[in-house]
């Protein structure tokens, strides 16, 4: 049997699984920044992705802007609005991502709401995302019951479909989600939408422990982690990854606004500086 006949994914761990396996060996917690593609333009996003890689990001969550982001607070809503205003489309985001092949080695997880995914066609979206080099998908408005169609399509392309668990999720349901989630399980740390919080809810620690006891899938905590101290706290609670979204988006938006003529270099620099600060905290 020739090598060509072997499916590119069959029998091999996905990019995300390999990433978490390596981090586990090294005893480190994954730093997972989130940014919205196209805010304020895709050239800025491109430069920022490389800057985040250089500053120690382990995985990057890349948001595809959507007109009605139900799970997002004001910071990411505004970011998506700016991205849409500048003409960002799912197709252009995937083109930009594809253009980074060979340069961007950090696994990228695409964060998209259901409707852009459905509109493009789930199968086509998965094919194009995989071809562009994406490693996984997070769909915040697609709970376990609605994943029946998407799961096999994503798996066929070697994309990890990451599912979310919330503080309101009952334990028996948490078991089923953890079992179905690929790559890692995304633990939403707050009962609420994305956005920075001054402190994390104490019950997150218990949730992390509960999820980790349910199986080998790594657990990454997101929604509400804004500072280096909070990132370190979720690491100490046993999380395998810390996702930082709104706080980073805010830092990048301020840098972009200060350099409206050419936002890319300043935004990428600001993103790298914030990422490095988080990295240092997580490795401390």
């Amino acid at each position: 049997m020739s090598a060509d006949a072997i499916s590119p994914v069959a029998g091999t761990a996905t990019l995300i699984k390999r990433c978490f396996a390596r981090l586990k060996q090294e005893g480190r917690c994954a730093l997972m920044p989130f940014l919205v593609a196209g805010d304020p333009d895709l050239a800025t996003t491109r430069a920022s992705l490389l800057a985040l890689q250089g500053a120690g990001a382990d995985l990057i969550e890349l948001g595809i802007p959507y007109s009605d982001p139900l799970a997002d607070g004001p910071v990411i809503q505004a970011s998506a609005g700016r991205a849409l205003t500048s003409g960002t489309t799912p197709g252009r985001v995937l083109e930009m991502l594809a253009s980074l092949k060979g340069e961007l080695h950090t696994p990228v997880v695409l964060f998209t709401y259901s409707n852009p995914l459905l509109s493009r066609g789930m199968e086509r979206f998965c094919q194009e995302a995989a071809a562009a080099g994406a490693a996984g998908l997070v769909v915040p408005d697609l709970p376990l019951e609605e994943t029946a169609k998407l799961s096999p399509l994503a798996a066929a392309q070697g994309l990890d479909l990451v599912l979310l668990v919330a503080p309101t999720t009952p334990a028996e349901r948490m078991v089923r989600i953890a079992a179905a989630s690929c790559g890692f399980t995304y633990l939403v740390s707050v009962t609420g939408v994305t956005g920075t919080r001054t402190s994390l809810e104490g019950r997150v620690e218990g949730l992390v422990q509960q999820l980790k006891a349910m199986g080998p899938t790594p657990v990454a905590v997101g929604f509400g982690i804004a500072t280096a101290d909070q990132a370190r706290q979720v690491r100490d609670w046993g999380a395998d990854g810390a996702i930082v979204g709104s706080a980073l988006v805010k830092v990048m938006a301020a840098a972009a606004a200060a350099s409206p003529q050419e936002p890319a270099p300043a935004t990428a620099t600001a993103a790298a500086a914030f990422c490095a600060e988080l990295r240092a905290a997580l490795d401390h």
């Binding site: 009605d68 607070g73 799912p90 509109s119 609605e146 309101t168 609420g192």
Partner: protein, 438 residues
């Protein structure tokens, strides 16, 4: 032009000769598709439509709500209390009133249809919306939730929700688009008088779509203490079913009243459709009576061809908005488009999933009328019947212009007069100022 095929799309064409049907078109819908057990099925779906496309945080609350509703409907204490309040607080049953001068208006030499108005405008708070707000408030009390949130477009659902919250001593927050607050200033005052907090929503288009998104975000954040009284047959399961079931009293009464008035089922039901709650409430008890034509009328705004409209069923593609799969006004990339209508209550780019299902299986027909057609109809009804209908309802009346010439003499038509138009007089005055002698 002969009989219109079932489920055909009727579009107002003033140049076409009026087709006249001598018989009611035979429907060919598979009866199995109309069974209550599949509307929705166990997964909360009406065919491919419906479902629960919401953040995980809300899933347990939706399950709790579904269980609470199922249990409540089985509890005579609940249904008795609901019925008592519907009668003594809301003022039900509402009359089924024969619009004799409209009959006259549409009469041809050989005769014409008889038009009956289901007077939901005579409910407490002036629209059908209170049927659902009252029912859901009673459910919230059962679930022990003391804080209520709701979205509103025209303000009628917001007023109804604020009303029942006042009645039961519940905290009430209403999300309303800033643009709608301007268009429906009177209703904003009413909600505040009733003790509700009205939260302006400036995101996106500052209309019903954005108010709904913001209400859902509030619910995601406060789900453990808060019940969301969603105001249409839209949103994630179980809302399309729940809201329909609370409004089904409209159709149940209509069926009985038709029997009393003319001894049989009506032939045609007509209602306006934004999200589709008043239409679904009227249609629901008739869905399996396939001799009854069901017609929903959407808002064509400036005209469907202009792109500035809210005719979701007419022009939409399958998509997901606010937790349900349904038809949706969206661009090629799946971004939700802005809707346009003179009527704030119809200014919504989505529609309830069961309407999309009825369209798909051919059980109901859907058409659209423009802002100016609705305004003309509003004036006609004022002058002929002494009733100022809501601008939303005026869309259903406007459909009579194209429908009535196609109906055989003696056809019994029931139109859901879903709300009164007092809230709209400023909008109407702006449009018709000179004609009103200002």
């Amino acid at each position: 032009m002969g009989a219109l095929p079932p489920g055909c799309f009727l579009r107002w064409n003033p140049l076409a000769p009026p087709p006249v049907t001598s018989t009611i078109p035979a429907l060919t819908v598979d009866p199995a598709a109309l069974e209550p057990a599949v509307r929705p099925n166990a997964l909360g779906r009406f065919g491919q439509f419906g479902g629960q496309y919401v953040p995980e945080t809300l899933i347990p609350a939706l399950a709790e709500l579904e269980a609470a509703a199922a249990e409540a409907w089985q509890d005579p204490a609940f249904t008795e209390r609901l019925n008592h309040l519907l009668k003594h607080y809301v003022g039900r049953p509402t009359p089924l009133y024969e619009a004799e001068r409209l009959n006259e208006h549409y009469r041809r030499p050989e005769g014409g249809p008889r038009i009956w108005l289901k007077r939901e405008d005579l409910n407490h708070t002036g629209a059908h919306k209170i049927n659902n707000a009252l029912g859901q408030a009673l459910l919230a009390l059962r679930m022990g939730k003391k804080r209520i949130i709701a979205e509103t477009g025209a303000g009628q659902h917001g007023v109804a929700t604020a009303t029942v919250c006042a009645r039961f001593g519940l905290e009430c927050v209403i999300y309303m688009g800033a643009e709608d607050m301007r268009r429906q200033a009177l209703n904003v005052v009413r909600m505040r008088l009733l003790g509700a907090t009205v939260e302006p929503v400036t995101a996106g288009t500052a209309t019903l779509k954005d108010a709904t998104s913001e209400a859902i975000r509030d619910w995601v954040t406060n789900v453990e203490t808060t019940h969301y009284i969603l105001g249409s047959v839209a949103g994630p399961h179980p809302f399309p079913m729940l809201v329909r079931d609370f409004h089904a009293v409209i159709g149940v009464e209509t069926k009985r009243q038709c029997q009393e008035a003319f001894g049989r089922l009506p032939d045609v039901l007509v209602a306006c459709v934004g999200g589709g709650s008043n239409a679904m409430g009227l249609f629901h008890p008739f869905v399996q009576d396939t001799s009854v034509r069901l017609i929903g009328v959407e808002a064509a705004g400036d005209g469907v061809a202009t792109g500035r409209h809210a005719a979701t069923i007419t022009e939409g593609r399958v998509g997901v908005l606010h937790g349900a799969m349904s038809l949706l006004l969206q661009d090629g990339d799946g971004q939700v488009q802005e809707a346009h209508s003179i009527s704030a209550g119809l200014d919504y780019p989505g529609v309830g999933p069961e309407h999309s299902y009825f369209k798909e299986i051919g059980r109901a027909e859907y058409g659209a009328v423009t802002d100016s057609e609705a305004l003309a109809a509003l004036q006609l009804v004022c002058k002929l019947e002494g009733i100022i209908p809501a601008l939303e309802t005026a869309h259903a009346f406007a459909w009579l212009d194209s429908l009535c010439p196609t109906l055989a003499p003696g056809t019994e038509v029931v139109l859901n007069l879903s709300g009164r138009g007092d809230k709209d007089v400023n909008t109407v005055a702006d449009k018709l100022g000179d004609q009103l002698g200002r």
